[in-house]
């Protein structure tokens, strides 16, 4: 019976194997198991008493727990401006800090779980790199218009401003948020989670492809008579510009020139360049993933390729991707990735996490980046006007993405200050705009970078 009873060893061994595997998962995934939205220890009214604060870079409290409730900043505009970064109490904004750092805010730890042995606040406080004043300004400048704005320091990686509209007051979410068209997209942080028709800001990609594939680019000229017909499809400019060098074509944002350049470079090289520059890829902001930009010209007609080269056709750009791309151009090809968590401190005052910049993968060859930077600087100094960004040596590109359906275009500006003292990169998008891109997005960017440089 001694040997035959070994079958029991076999069963017990299986049991210990299973228990081992459970304990391993418990130790490694317990945090994510615990912080589920349905968990009564977190989402219940009594439970959120334990959650930590979120503060901006200057120590302004954006949200805290008081009397068993999440209470946001006392200023309405600050609450709304920071909504998409901080997130809402219900957890509908899945890119918010409150959603993504639930485990830290709730104070989950392996030893006591979500339970607080002292009955006191157990959650950690999260300090952000963002400046709530700058965000408030961006929101104020966007006004009633929908759009997105973001600005970061490309030398340190600190994200200073991230705003998306429409927004709502997280202290008292509107009852009609799901039915009122004015709140359409209010749960989305457009900087992170949305993509838009880019219009001419895409010409930066076409330019990079031209720099790398057209040898005598700077000695070439394009005859821009206001329109060109390709395959029976007419591509137009705002005005006839006459004969333009490449630099002038980019500054005037000539569709006539750039559609021809895209066709000359060819679909496969355009796709390669776009893919190198981050199209089709998701970028991360800490643990949050952005939506991927799209550029796809597989088996398209020549006119479609032409349109794609000027940022129309099926082109889509995610604002956060372009912010990182601006950082890459400013930084010589390889971007310092933005981050927004400055640090996380536990209730006993220990700093459990410090945010640091990490170098992202190269998005553009350094020689291409240098030439692109020159062209972008020329855009501002000769076309948009340095008066918008006095003393900041801004390099930028504007865009007007036509969306059709009776809506105004997406007005964009993406760029950065090449001044060593003000190393800021920015992206601003204003949807359904009746003004030009300079008067809409350009002015907002101007206010933001001036305010950032001033503070």
């Amino acid at each position: 019976m001694g040997k035959r009873s070994l079958i029991i060893f076999f069963i017990v061994a299986c049991f210990f194997l299973g228990i081992g595997s459970f304990l391993y998962s418990f130790a490694t995934q317990g945090g994510s198991w615990a912080v589920q939205p349905f968990n009564g220890h977190i989402s219940g009214s009594a439970a959120s008493a334990g959650a930590g604060k979120i503060l901006d870079r200057n120590g302004v409290v954006l949200v805290e727990s008081k009397g068993g409730k999440r209470v946001y900043n006392s200023d309405y505009d600050t609450r709304c401006a920071m909504l998409h970064t901080v997130g809402d109490t219900q957890g509908f904004i899945s890119t918010g800090v409150q959603y993504n750092y639930k485990s830290e805010l709730s104070g989950y730890n392996l030893v006591t779980g979500l339970f607080s042995p002292t009955g006191k606040n157990l959650g950690s406080d999260i300090h952000l790199t963002l400046d709530s004043k700058l965000c408030r300004l961006a929101r104020e400048k966007l006004g009633s218009r929908n759009g997105a704005a973001a600005l970061y320091n490309y030398r340190t990686g600190e994200l200073l401003c991230m705003v998306s509209t429409p927004d709502f007051d997280p202290d008292s979410p509107p009852k009609d948020i799901n039915t009122n068209p004015a709140y359409k997209g209010a749960y989305f942080n457009k900087v992170i989670s949305s993509t838009f028709t880019p219009g001419s800001i895409f010409k930066l990609v076409t330019s990079a492809a031209a720099i790398e594939n057209i040898p005598n680019l700077d000695s070439r000229t394009w005859n821009c008579n206001g329109s060109i017909t390709i395959n029976g499809n007419r591509i137009t400019d705002v005005a006839p510009y006459g004969r333009l060098t490449f630099r002038q074509a980019l500054a005037h944002s000539s569709n006539v020139a750039f559609s021809q350049i895209a066709i000359e470079v060819g679909a496969s090289k355009m796709m390669n360049e776009a893919s190198t520059m981050g199209f089709g890829r998701s970028f991360t902001l800490g643990s949050i993933h952005s939506a991927a930009s799209n550029y796809s010209v597989k088996s398209v007609s020549e006119d479609q390729l032409g349109w794609s080269g000027v940022g129309q056709y099926t082109d889509l750009v995610n604002p956060y991707h372009y912010l990182v791309l601006m950082g890459a151009i400013a930084n010589g090809g390889q971007p310092l990735m933005p981050y927004m968590i400055k640090n996380i401190t536990t209730p006993v005052g220990i700093t459990s996490k410090v945010g640091t910049a990490t170098l992202g993968g190269s998005l553009i060859q350094s020689s291409t980046a240098a030439r692109l930077k020159d062209y972008m600087r020329y855009n501002v100094s000769h076309e948009y006007g340095d008066s918008l960004f006095p003393g900041l040596d801004v390099c930028a590109k504007t865009g007007t993405g036509e969306v059709g359906h009776g809506k105004g275009p997406n007005c964009w500006i993406a760029g950065f200050s090449s001044n060593e003292n003000t190393p800021y990169a920015f992206v601003v998008l204003v949807e359904d705009s009746s003004l030009g891109s300079i008067s809409s997005a350009g002015r907002i960017a101007s206010s933001l970078i001036k305010a950032a440089a001033g503070s």
Binding site: K3, I7, I11, I19, F22, F38, N109, L114, F115
Partner: protein, 548 residues
């Protein structure tokens, strides 16, 4: 302040449980007889001394025999030499040449005394006492790591600590909530006094461990519903009565052997009754309502299954084939499939594998049985695709947090919420989920009392199975060792299904966690299973013999 005190008490509880469990198991290990020969056989021709170590010893030419005789005229398994209440017996197990005691042919069984000559084929053996007669090998000095009283006292203290958790579960002290736990403690001491003082038992470790686990179960249930806790207490008391009855019943092996067939028939009748009378509840038809109480016959049939399956060594050697038992098992499993109780079917299958392997020693039998089971399972999935749906969510529970994975994700989430020491009895959120105190009892333990205690509880069950194994060679009969291994195997396998099912390591089958989960019939049944473990401990019947 109260929160902190309760938390500190919750830190003390699991470590005390580990200490008590460790002392119980070491005490059981130390309580074992040393491995000395109990009697000797002398090969008269060769003057060779053959030591006899066990209560039941197979004698034969086969190398797997306990006493190997190198004699071509001896059958492979020729006879069994065994010790019973009244002395030594030899039993011929269908040998070719037959067995003679003092020249008289043995029919079935014959008593042998020291000095008697046993003939098997050409071999002649004489029964001899072990030298140094002052030591009776069957009445060794039992060494103990801890006295039964001190172990019981420790459990009592732990249960007081648990009662404090229950009393302050709602903030203001509510002493009524701890009443079921208090009455359990009273029950424990009554059984202790009965067993130790009246029955004169020397060992009480198994009962102590069972009480420890029952107390934890009652604590969890009290936090949800005091009324349910009282029901659980009643089940425990009935379980203890059943336990004592089982120990009495198992005391006489011949009685068990006589009753085997009757019990088998009764089990099949119970299954038939179940299938006829039961109404479908939560997808399976495993409950019968008898007035105000509902019972789950399959739980009691587990105990019957083991009695039918087990056997003494002489019968094992005589009736080698397993046909009858396989047939009986097939009927049981078939009935469970008709009841759609797949969890219990798995448990019966595991018990079948253990018993079949221990009886035959043939790995081939086990493989064959497993192959048949896999084929059967495959067939069922083909014929009844809705069964497969139950398993579809397995390993995909996080995609089904509000439908088919509802219970599992909540078990995981709330287990993690509890951390190492839990959020406190009655403070859990899992209790609002269906079957929280039965199928999800492991998750509730993790959430409310902490994962250390929860793991301790299931490890205790694992050690009960290991204990059953370690007793296998020391039991008074294979009847006890097979039964104990089957019972231990069922306990740990059931714990596996409960723990791993609710945590998505295995598909969720909905079986109870022994001694912890709420459920009347299942509580009675696990006490019945514990009786097999108790019976396999040779100390259990030792004292009674002393008193006679």
């Amino acid at each position: 302040m109260l929160t902190t005190i309760l938390f500190i008490l919750r830190i003390i509880v699991p470590f005390s449980c580990i200490a008590v469990a460790a002392r119980c198991f070491t005490s059981m290990r130390l309580g074992k007889r040393r491995k000395d020969p109990v009697i000797l056989l002398e090969d008269t021709a060769a003057h060779r001394i053959l030591p006899v170590f066990y209560w039941e010893n197979s004698i034969g030419r086969s190398r797997s025999s306990d006493i190997v005789l190198h004699d071509q005229t001896v059958s492979r398994s020729h006879a069994v030499l065994m010790r019973r209440e009244s002395g030594w017996f030899v039993s011929d197990t269908n040998s070719k040449a037959g067995t003679l005691v003092n020249g008289r042919k043995v029919k079935e069984r014959a008593p042998v005394f020291p000095g008697d000559v046993i003939n098997m084929g050409a071999t002649e053996l004489t029964l001899r006492r072990v030298e140094s007669p002052e030591i009776d090998p069957f009445r060794p000095v039992y060494r103990r790591a801890a006295s039964p009283f001190s172990l019981m006292w420790s459990v009592f203290i732990i249960q007081i600590l648990l009662a404090v958790q229950v009393i302050f579960a709602k903030g203001n002290p509510d002493f009524n909530a701890a009443l079921p736990l208090g009455l359990l403690m009273l029950t424990e001491w009554i059984l202790y006094l009965y067993s130790i003082t009246i029955r004169g038992q020397v060992s009480f470790e198994l009962e102590t461990l069972a009480f420890l686990l029952c107390g934890i179960g009652i604590t969890l249930i009290s936090g949800v519903s005091v009324k349910d806790a009282f029901m659980q207490l009643v089940a425990i008391v009935l379980g203890i009565i059943f336990y004592r009855m089982m120990i009495w019943f198992l005391g006489d092996m011949d009685r068990v052997t006589r009753w085997r067939v009757k019990i088998g028939v009764l089990a099949i009748l119970m299954f038939a009754g179940n299938l006829l009378l039961a109404k479908s509840r939560n997808g399976s038809k495993n409950w019968i309502s008898l007035g105000p109480v509902s019972i789950q016959p399959s739980e009691l049939i587990k105990v019957a299954f083991i009695i039918v399956g087990t056997s003494t060594l002489d019968r094992l050697q005589t009736y080698k084939n397993l046909t009858g038992f396989i047939g009986f098992s097939a009927i049981c499993m078939g009935a469970l499939f008709l009841m759609k109780d797949f969890g219990t079917a798995c448990i019966f299958f595991m018990a079948f594998i253990i018993i079949a392997f221990m009886r035959s020693g043939s790995i081939r039998t086990v493989f064959l049985a497993c192959a048949v089971a896999v084929f059967g399972a495959f067939l069922i999935l083909k014929i009844k695709p809705y069964v497969a749906q139950r398993f579809e969510v397995w390993h995909h529970v996080w995609q089904h947090t509000s439908d088919s994975g509802y219970q599992q994700v909540r078990v995981l989430s709330y287990s993690a919420s509890g951390g190492l020491f839990g959020v406190g009895a009655g403070h859990g959120c899992l209790e609002n989920v269906f079957a929280s105190t039965s199928d999800l009892a492991f998750g509730m333990m993790c959430e409310e009392l902490g994962i250390i205690l929860a793991i301790t509880v299931v490890v205790i069950l694992a050690f009960l199975a290991l204990y059953a194994r370690s007793e296998a060679t020391r039991s008074r009969s294979t009847l006890y060792s097979i039964a104990a291994c089957a019972a231990g195997g069922i306990l740990i396998f059931q714990a596996c299904l409960n723990v791993f099912g609710s945590t998505d390591i295995l598909p969720l089958t909905g079986v109870t966690l022994p001694f912890i989960s709420q459920g009347g019939t299942s509580m009675i049944s696990v006490w019945g299973l514990l009786a097999f473990l108790k019976a396999s401990d040779e100390r259990t019947y030792a004292v009674r013999r002393q008193r006679n």
